[in-house]
Symmetry: C2
Subunit: 322 residues, 2 copies
């Protein structure tokens, strides 16, 4: 299982490479909610999301010989760019398996980091199988998006820095997809503050992690229909779940319109851009505020990779939010 | 004339009260422009703009007896909120003279800081006269938005912090309306780095400062039609101009569509929100990039007070940008 020392080692590797992102506060938000909120702004991280931490750590732990044979990842989102950038920084080749209908902007960004993009048909082909076959053919290292200890350890440095900079917290709310960030943060937070309550936050329509925690076993759901595109995972990862079942107090679910409210609040009052999944933990706090009254609450703002045009579409209803 | 020691004194007063805002960098921007850009994120300042610095300093330099008689400001924008918040923090009354058609959000925000809002008809009444009469009746101190040494000194702490945190710069681009920020920053920058070139940035249609600098005397223009609502001043202030004519190299003008490009770039690549005037200096760098190739350039991101709905209107063309 993931240990605190893994996170400390990841922090040492990331020092001077990842941004030490600021902890944002908002007196308006504190007054609105009746609690004190400390927000870790990973939307200001390199490539715009916490994923850089795990991707970099996972590439860095490889031997020079392993790196020379390249790395492979499959992702349509931030993990792809994280691994591509991490590989570029290590001077090693990267191949990213992406769906044929991935946004052109993301494909371009991934190529911009020097990675080879391998396109597959998401309705006919299995990306994990494609990536595994490629890894075997090339001898490359596969870097999974969350079910991988070096990735989890890297993501855990988010909570480590937050607590170092913000001081003691009563609770921590972390957005949850496959559980990489949540598990890493739970290990860091519970080690530093044994009494802290750690919560996951996920979209109401994609509540597989809440179900899994309740049942004590991993529940798989259909691809959820939610604006939170970073959390359309169907099941929590096995290794993250081992951590989460022990260290996480509860998983809070959030309706999509509240996620949009949180994005708007961040824009108008905090002057920062959050993508839907990046706003999910803040939205969970807005939606479950009674539970946190009078407390000192950490929140991850996990990413800001949203085009201005999609932001407009969400605000105008051109993309339905329900 | 404004002295560097005034800015140092303002910095001491602001310590622990104003945010020491981060200096943002973007590798993408640097690669795009072929220079190194260090951006002072005053959109993350308290109340969302650098104006808090000058407003707070101007209230703070008053004696306790003066403060007890209250402060008055006239402004439809960020200066109003800055003075209102500064007065609240000093426990003294504030009256803000605002036009009858000021955005409801701004009126509400000003009242939210505990200020009395005095409404006037912008087509029939003279706000300066109203404010002066009120100040005389009540014995209150009038705090002008830019033509006032304590305000200029407070704004100058922006460049002081930027250079302390970012190190030496070859050039500094500062958005310019009435000249409070530009004059304060010019004094700080030229004192710390005698060879630095300081530039103002203003909307092309409101180029009164460029004209004034060229002619060597203050030029007054009609209220300019520009999306940069923080820079719709008709003339630079007398005291700021005394500084600017001596210390500022040039004033760069920017078409409104380039301002919008800069806002979009900040949103998509830097994940921060800029209001049009807050993006003007960055837009000037985009528009005049050849002039800055190979150099280390400081840029003020001066404010982020824009509602999400107006951002949408600008991006969709519902508010014309030409």
């Amino acid at each position: 299982m993931l240990a605190f020392s893994d996170i400390q080692a990841a922090a040492a590797r990331l020092a001077g490479v990842a941004h030490r992102t600021p902890v944002l506060t908002s007196r308006t938000l504190d007054a609105l909610l009746g609690c004190q909120v400390l927000m870790k702004a990973e939307n200001l991280q390199r490539m715009g999301a916490f994923k850089f931490r795990g991707g970099y750590n996972a590439v860095n732990v490889l031997s020079a010989a392993e790196r020379a044979r390249g790395v492979i990842a499959f992702s349509s989102g931030n993990h792809a760019q994280a691994v591509a950038l991490a590989a570029q920084l290590h001077g090693c080749p990267a191949a990213i398996v992406m769906p044929h209908d991935a946004p052109a902007l993301k494909v371009a960004a991934t190529r911009g980091y020097g990675a080879e993009v391998i396109v597959y048909d998401r309705y006919k082909e299995d990306r994990a199988a494609i990536a595994a076959r490629l890894a075997a053919e090339r001898g490359s290292a596969l870097i999974p998006p969350f079910d991988h200890l070096p990735v989890m350890a890297g993501q855990g440095t988010t909570a480590l820095e937050l607590i170092e900079d913000a001081g003691p917290l009563d609770a921590l709310i972390v957005c949850a997809g496959g559980g990489g960030l949540l598990s890493g943060c739970a290990v860091a937070a519970r080690h530093l503050l044994p009494d802290i309550e750690v919560f996951g936050a996920e979209p109401e329509r994609g509540d597989d992690m809440r179900q899994s925690l309740q049942r004590g076993e991993i529940v798989t759901i259909d691809v959820p229909r939610t604006i939170c595109d970073g959390q359309q995972t169907q099941a929590v990862g096995r290794q993250p779940f081992e951590v989460i079942r022990r260290l996480v107090r509860d998983v809070l679910t959030v309706p999509d319109p509240v996620v949009l409210d949180a994005m708007r609040f961040a824009f108008e009052r905090m002057k920062v851009v959050l993508e839907p999944s990046g706003a999910c933990a803040l939205a969970a706090l807005l939606h479950h505020r009674d539970r946190f009254a009078g407390r000192r609450v950490g929140v991850t703002l996990s990413g800001g990779n949203i085009g201005a045009d999609r932001f407009v579409a969400l605000l105008t209803g051109a993309e339905r939010v329900e």
